[in-house]
């Protein structure tokens, strides 16, 4: 036995080193090359990404009504603990005033911070990673037009082992599949635009799908209904196996842009903020999202 001990120690050491490398945060864009990516953004197009992405739902300063004051600090309660989304206003000290376009690209497309740490997927980069670089650049251009807000959010309050950021490297291996979707030539341009908006910036699947024990989306039940972030309330099935089977594409457009269902109900909860934001997106984009959502193959809702 004693003879084997050095070998065991060696294997453990090799494993630890391998785990360290495997879990390393990997930015997509090297920060020292930031100048090459900085120019060409369009604030008006970025505003559309902001509205479809619903950034303010989590990053808005709580307790005030202006959705463009992004001081952070809202408490996002989850089964893993409480997240406090940061200040993403252009404040030089407390916000992201010193960020370059590549920093936002690394955050949204790879879930990596400028300090080369993993972000928690409470920032839904599993979806945002399907965005194009150009759209992220436009978004950054828009964010820079917003008012600087002082003050920082409190640190996240998470229990072990979720408070070990490095561990997210393994989580990403399991669940992060980035890259903009390849257009499906058998579908219309509108459908492809809709899929991009729903799967990427819109991040609809993040709430409308169930999650497994590790907090990853259950792929086979994508869009078939889930739970709110706090795990307390149900989020509806939006495939054709749920209530949307009875809705036309135009009904879905109306729901997304006004919050009113064809039955006359008015959506509430977190979806109310989503609707407020989507109401400011171009009607053509809402129509595209509705086209894609109406095409989602039926998955039956989970039993009660």
């Amino acid at each position: 036995m004693r003879r084997w001990l050095p070998l065991l120690v060696l294997v453990a050491a090799v494993g630890a080193v391998a785990a360290w490398f495997i879990s390393a945060p990997r930015p997509l864009y090297a920060r020292e090359n930031w100048r090459a990516y900085e120019d060409g953004g369009d604030a008006a197009r970025g505003r559309v990404m902001f509205m479809v992405g619903g950034c303010e739902s989590c990053h808005k300063t709580p307790g005030q009504a202006d959705p463009l004051r992004l001081g952070g600090g809202y408490e996002l309660k989850t089964p893993f603990g409480s997240f406090f989304p940061p200040n993403i206003s252009p404040d030089e000290h407390d916000g992201i005033g010193q960020w370059k376009v590549v920093d936002l690209a690394n955050a949204l497309l790879a879930g990596v911070s400028p300090a080369a740490e993993h972000y928690y997927p409470a920032l839904p980069y599993t979806s945002y990673s399907h965005m194009t670089f150009e759209d992220v650049r436009d978004l950054m251009t828009f964010l820079r037009t917003l008012p600087a807000v002082q003050g920082r959010a409190p640190p996240h309050r998470l229990s072990f082992p979720f408070n070990v950021r490095r561990g997210l490297g393994f989580w990403k291996l399991l669940y992060l599949r980035g890259g903009a979707p390849t257009p499906d030539p058998s579908q219309s341009a509108e459908w492809n635009r809709g899929r991009y908006l729903v799967e990427g910036p819109g991040h609809c699947a993040e709430c409308h799908s169930p999650r497994d024990f590790a907090g990853g989306i259950v792929a086979s039940r994508r869009f078939a209904g889930g739970l709110t972030a706090d795990g307390k309330h149900k989020v509806p099935n939006i495939t054709q196996g749920g209530p949307l089977a009875k809705w036309s594409k135009s009904d879905i457009e109306t729901v997304l842009s006004t919050g009113f269902t064809p039955e006359g109900d008015s959506l509430g909860g977190d979806m109310a903020a989503v609707v407020r934001n989507l109401a400011q997106a171009p009607p053509a984009d809402i129509s595209a999202m509705a086209e894609f959502i109406k095409s989602l193959p039926a998955i039956p809702s989970a039993g009660k």
Partner: protein, 144 residues
Amino acid sequence: MRRTLIVLTTLALGITAVLADSDVIAQRRELMKANGKATAPIVAIMKGGPFDLAAVQASLKTFAEAGKKGPALFPDNSKTGDDTAALPAIWENKKDFEDRFAKLAADANDALSTIKDEATFKSIMPNVLKNCGGCHETYRAKKS
């Protein structure tokens, strides 16, 4: 004898109060259902259907009525039960909750006198409808 009567009456009142819990939940559910029913024709017009002033006015009267009756249908003893979608936030912010009902009634009554044609409908109606989502956002649990 008189004492027995008083005790019985008190008991009966108490039981009625307890029964009223689920009764009041059913009543507010009906009220919201009526609101939904009244909203459907409004949404149809917003989506480009023919404008019908009489239908719009009928719906606005329903909303105004709901705004008036609403607050009384959320007594302290109706926080839970009967699978209610009402969230505890209602009773934690009772003043705001009741103010919102009052605003719905005021906006609906206002719209009753100001909406005269399709143009005024388009400019005024969204303001009335904002009240629905505004309240559901904070005070109603998700369904299904």
